[in-house]
Symmetry: D2
Subunit: 347 residues, 4 copies
């Protein structure tokens, strides 16, 4: 049951397609029957991504030539902005998980402001469900079109949404210092992403204007039922995969770090992929790479009344392709963890 | 069917235990029921290796306290030298894959010469089968005790043994320049393996005296039916996993690079884990990391009559734990690839 | 004029000795005449640090055997805690720059609290001058004993002290997320600092209890003339050298980011080693590695009234040995930048 | 005395310009008065290379607008192929060190074969002196135009030329396995050089056809006074700077490894930048990074009659900009080591 098409090998998001292929290679229920890539049409996937040459995959075709008659579901790994129109053109019976940012922002005006053009499929935007699995599981189960969350938003919302809903932290002065591996930037050949520019170093980027900000603020504001504005400083560090979000928060009056811990513990107790660490164990990005896990923990701050929350994910798995498979599992009525029980590859 | 015990969390080989745990986590037929570690007895495996905290594993016990009554097979990840006596003491009905070097050298005198002491279980040494799966599949299938090959020897023998058996290359002047990631050195806290000593650099080590030399020469000599002496220069490079062996060989008179290619092609055509690349594609270590694959290819040299052969593996998977699981699958009558179909984690 | 002795090759701080040797190799006025190392006495420095074998250096001697008669000044690179008594025993006429933490905390009780024992040379502690060069230049010029600052404290105090003195930022809720390369941890052979544990990842450590906290709070409190408590989260990242401190601050009422920028600009205008970047240029750690520079800049936050300040240094140069040479230059009446005009080694 | 112009900020070779700027920053006799860069004309160098913003440098100008009236010497960092015509157009009185490959091959036909077009300045090619400093010092001293050697050729010829001249090694079967950091590939934005494609891995490239081959064979053939054909396999490894060449050679009859060692020792005894290591010390690339040193050593092979020679350099210093400054020092009658006494930056 269940065969899937996979779209997109443009440089920007193409990094994501091979990650989904990796996950589907061992998925007991999904089979890849169509793969599209306009510029590489006619080529073999393994010639573009030589680490996957052992897979027996259909040749790449242009989207316009794709035959969706035997397809149940689609992972869409196309560049931001172009995805809207392509999804509009897909057969109605397909389930779709879109890994671009096109359907993440519910507010059409906010989309236009951050992406510089009017949304081209506002009715689909209306229909789309935001795919933060552990938070919106029931909606996702019944969705036809899921907007898969960004990596930073996943790592930030998983701890903060429940704490905000429970009114345990203040909404003002939520300060986030986040660090991402380079794969977050895609496979485009930009000078800034050369080995020589990245290795052995760290730098902040997009300090005020990172496009994941409205996505995070949307999620936190909905949890708070009022507008939340965050301080968000992303950093690029010299690693391929991995993401750490460090969140500095003020607790509501009378709340302690132990309250935060207990609330996260009860929230995520039964979850397979979200793990609150024991005691004062610190989440390391290396301990989740290659897996769909989010590890998190809460720490006391030296400043009374404040707490520090740290979460880590593999930006390409729980922050992208893994959560996408998790969502499609739900949408197809399969066990949510099917094909996702990869343990982290450490060291 | 099939439950396994896993021994050893001493620093030297302990790096290997968690890699097997990773592989067994998704193995449909093996279940870990006993884990031993003398110095860490009583602890949880996940507290020693935090990336595996999500696994539900038995607590570590001392070997002497281990209950093997419910155990069918054992992976032995103990330090070189100590393994011999411990295996001697295990119940006879257990299947054993030993990841140490203790049973790799068939010649007891050679063992004594390279390891500095007389072998402590010569009768077991007699019984042990060398676990180079693709080469010795039939013997492994019927073995009780398998000596799992070293990483360098795996990457070298897979291409050279068939070429030597077919008399396509000369036995003199086989020159090997090999490069290994740091995990080959285990998890011991030595200054030489600190990040600051390893990052951003390369150096040769053990130029004349690496202990994998007699293992390689044993395999090549058996293939040649005469004594082969190799030139072997291993290098440590700034990566965690991965191994590249570059082999510079003289071809037998009249033999061409195309002959070498064709022979390797026919030898490994049906193999799942050994892949001869197409055309002039160069094997990259990054394209096999996390998987049980060996990628290889053959190239013309500028010097007439010579050829260059390059093979790459993940030293911790095909070079250790992956090949170990592959061997136990065979020994237990299971499909050889069971639980091993991980695609490489790239990037 | 000016010959120097260099003490200390114990693992913990020993990382620092070779960095000073590197800087002194080209210093026009300093010559190394004595090098001490109790455990390595009798050895050559170049055999311990092979990258310095081309230097013609005196053999290592035990401190008790050192002849200080021809010595004008000493760099002390001994472990925290042991330095106090050794410096007490040095001839009075020597100028001393101490790179340990022993004399950094002016408050003897605070020292005892953070280091777990009473200070063993309180009268010297009284005499010692804190060596944050740009901030305490005049005091340093006349000092006999300078306590060279820690790396985190250098990167944090350089931007924050002038802003606090000018009352441009609030004293509450100063939140610092800092990232350090591994060399900050010295050359000790600990599992936690192995390549395999560090490469390709990030993790926070010492969240509440890093020993640089009292040093930073001391500096900020003196600038504020009242007690300042900071939130400080250090992170270890997979790079050898480099440090980034990101400081999230609330501005005083009516103050703008432009006010912060202008004040830092006028403060550091004539400085050779502290550079405020132009416009919105973001400091990268890679752009200062190998040099004595501190690059910094100020950014608007999305939350009104807040600002984000980022500074970067090479933790081993401006954060240790470079600032030490800068201080000794001052103490000896030499141009402050002598021997320090190394450009960053990028890439 | 001596002011210099610096040409070229095209992506391919532009990586080299900032390395020369770094070295000249502290050179007591050279001052940069003109910097050319056609595509970036009008910009400041520090805006292209932010790690050099502290330098007071002339703005970039187009070559056609450059005023050479106040210039004594030129470092030419232009792309291969374009340099010929530009140098043809420079004023005759200028001393020139060319870092491209344009004038390295003495044989015009060989140039055409490897670079795909007829040489455009054959008379200059005639005049050019090959700048392997330690080997051709006298010729360089009197040269007007020096062709600065490639990085691989430098690391290979320094050990092999003297051994071949002394007839200590055989000319057949010289096998070289070399490893380079990524900076060898320049700063061009190619997918193959992205962090994600390079980090944590190794792969061979250009196995038969690397353009440094004819340069090496030219040097070895001249030393041998007969045509030498080498086996050359370069590898790209995950480091920024650094190069290791491992040379597998057969010794002439009766020659021992000790003979090779002694000959290299006497050859390089008085040299400042070429160091034969003691005993069995292995050269590490990390121990020369940032410096103009070449470290080398000779080792016995397991195969009787063979030896293994390993040399390491910083490909951007001794392999490019450092040797260029060394050459210009000679050409200007200055001490050869002036401005080059940088110690390696380790770790």
């Amino acid at each position: 049951m269940g065969s899937t098409a996979l779209g997109g090998a443009a440089p920007a998001r193409a990094g994501l397609a091979p990650k989904i292929v990796r996950l589907l290679a061992n998925h007991p229920q999904f089979r890849i029957t169509v793969m599209t890539a306009d510029r590489k049409a006619g080529e073999q996937f393994g010639s573009v991504f030589p680490h996957l040459i052992t897979q027996d995959l259909p040749n790449l075709v242009a989207i316009k030539d794709a035959d969706f008659s035997d397809v149940d579901a689609v992972f869409c790994c196309l560049p931001h902005g172009t995805t809207q129109e392509i999804i509009k053109g897909l057969p109605q019976q397909l389930k779709i998980v879109d890994l671009s940012a096109d359907f993440r922002l519910r507010n059409i005006n906010e989309y236009a402001e951050w992406y510089g053009h009017a949304h081209r499929a506002p009715e689909l935007q209306e229909e789309a469900v935001y795919g933060l699995t552990e938070v919106l599981r029931d909606e996702i189960r019944n969705a036809r079109l899921v907007a898969n969350p960004g990596c930073y938003p996943t790592s930030i919302q998983l701890p903060l949404v429940p704490l905000i809903k429970a009114k345990l932290i203040k909404l003002s002065n939520i300060i986030i210092d986040a660090k991402s591996g380079v794969t977050g930037a895609g496979r485009g050949a930009k000078e800034a992403n050369l080995y020589t520019e990245i290795a052995e170093g760290i730098h902040a980027y997009g300090i005020k204007g990172h496009r994941h900000v409205p996505e995070v603020e949307q999620g936190l504001s909905e949890a708070a039922e009022s507008k939340v504005t965050i301080s968000f400083t992303p950093n690029l560090i010299c690693m391929k995969r991995g993401m750490q979000s460090t969140m500095f928060v003020e607790m509501a009056p009378g709340v302690t770090v132990s309250d935060l811990y207990q609330h996260l513990k009860s929230t995520y107790e039964g979850e397979e992929f979200v793990k609150l660490l024991n005691g004062s164990n610190v989440p390391h990005t290396r301990h989740v790479v290659g897996s769909n896990y989010c590890f998190m923990n809460v720490f006391e701050d030296r400043i009374p009344g404040r707490a520090i929350i740290i979460s880590v994910i593999d930006n390409l798995v729980k922050g992208a392709s893994g959560q996408a498979v998790q969502n499609l599992n739900l949408m197809m009525g399969l066990p949510e963890n099917m094909g996702l029980q990869y343990q982290p590859l450490f060291p």
